[in-house]
């Protein structure tokens, strides 16, 4: 944690965010919203975007203020910045996207408590350049968003036989036509929409990711050991 600032390539920041250190699949951060709001694709997408925006705002502010943040008040200031960013986003959503604001409910203000955001602020943005912090926020945010959307789409498809239902809440009335109906909701597996379904789907996605990682490892054994060392140091 206290390693001195090092130069990290942008490509590796993105690889970390999207795959190697994916917040949803590897670090398992922010599981509460991940499990609760991923019941439809659109809900997942909306919460993913809100989280991404919060992460970007907080990383940018904290990185640009990093020389002025006294150690004793760094943490409270980070929390203050994150809470302000989330509240701003919540107000904007209530004004411009009331449907999705109602659908996300309490999970929108709860973004404040997503450890992913404070984690990136404290471990990354408070000691790196603004550009690196922005790339880190975008990469981690996209990684989280992709897992949310993947889980939302899977659960929605299995549970009610549709993809993109409720798209009008995010994209306006024209988006009503986007919904893909594969089968009637009566034939859906209800379990997928309920909380246990969220755990099962997340477990399956984790298993697939680990399988792919294991395949990659056997294919190029040398690189894999380096990767694993890397991961332990960061933890």
């Amino acid at each position: 944690m206290n390693s001195p600032p090092t130069k990290t390539s942008i490509a590796s920041l993105w690889f970390d965010g999207l795959w190697r250190q994916n917040p949803g699949l590897v670090k398992l951060l922010g599981l509460c919203p991940l499990l609760a709001v991923s019941n439809t694709t659109i809900n997942g997408l909306a919460l993913g975007i809100a989280t991404l925006l919060t992460l970007l705002t907080s990383n940018l502010f904290i990185s640009s203020l990093r020389h002025h943040l006294l150690p004793s008040i760094r943490l409270p200031l980070e929390v203050l910045i994150i809470a302000t960013a989330v509240t701003t986003i919540e107000i904007m959503m209530a004004a411009w996207l009331p449907g999705i604001h109602a659908a996300l409910g309490i999970f929108l203000p709860l973004i404040v408590t997503n450890c992913l955001i404070l984690g990136r602020a404290e471990a990354f943005a408070s000691r790196r350049s603004v550009a690196a912090a922005a790339h880190d926020a975008l990469a981690m945010g996209c990684g989280f968003l992709l897992v949310l959307v993947l889980m939302g789409a899977t659960r929605e498809l299995i549970g009610q036989g549709t993809i993109l239902s409720g798209a009008h809440m995010l994209f306006g009335v024209t988006a009503n036509a986007w919904t893909i109906h594969l089968f009637s909701a009566d034939h859906g597996l209800l379990l997928a929409l309920l909380p246990p379904g969220a755990f099962i789907v997340l477990g399956l996605i984790l298993a697939v990711k680990n399988l792919i990682d294991a395949r990659l490892k056997t294919r190029s054994a040398g690189f894999a050991t380096v990767d694993r060392l890397d991961a332990t140091i960061i933890h």
């Binding site: 019941n39 002025h68 006294l70 004793s72 008040i73 409270p76 200031l77 203050l80 910045i81 809470a83 302000t84 509240t87 701003t88 107000i91 904007m92 209530a94 004004a95 411009w96 009331p98 109602a102 549970g159 009610q160 909701a185 859906g188 209800l190 929409l193 309920l194």
Partner: protein, 223 residues
Amino acid sequence: MTNISTKNHDRASAQASLASRSALTLASFVVLALLLLILVYSANRSRIQASQRTLLATSIADVLPVESIDNQPLDDLLLVKHSLLGTTEVMPVYRAWRDNKPVAAALSVVAPDGYSGSIYLLIGISAKGEVTGVRVLEHRETPGIGDKIELSRSNWIMGFNTQSLDKLPASEWRTTRIGGKFDALTGATITSSAIIAAVYDALLWFSLHEGLVFTKAQQLPLQ
């Protein structure tokens, strides 16, 4: 001795100045954040209120016979408090008129005994005491089972239309399984019973207070 005490003194004053600097920085950031939030909120307040109003207006129009009224019920409300409305809170009653004669009222009520907490309902009742429409405003019932109370998922909620206390005796305001008139949603007997009871209570409240509902002066909405 003196040397050490000066050192201690220096360290103490350095700590004090660091503490006051920290406090000042923190305080100024709090003020900045507050100013920003006030700015954002006041810039969006009218839009947030407008979208909440639109949402409510749509629900009210769903439960009232809109084609036979000539006022805006959203702007003609009465604030009431009664245990039959399922809550100890003050609830709004929206009144609909035509040529200054009462047509119907939309009651905002709570079914406190849903399967997962309270179910918030809007119930339209005509001046004759017939249900003109029921819609669920907010609920946390089980997805796929209890959420069939939403019109977008099934038309079960339409089964209350045109019912009244005159047409159905109190004993029939329950599910068919226990000798009532209303089908329960499959697997959601508790949810169904909660709503049936809430609609019955609303009709009862209306029959007891009908005179009052259409004679009392309009009240301004609580902000």
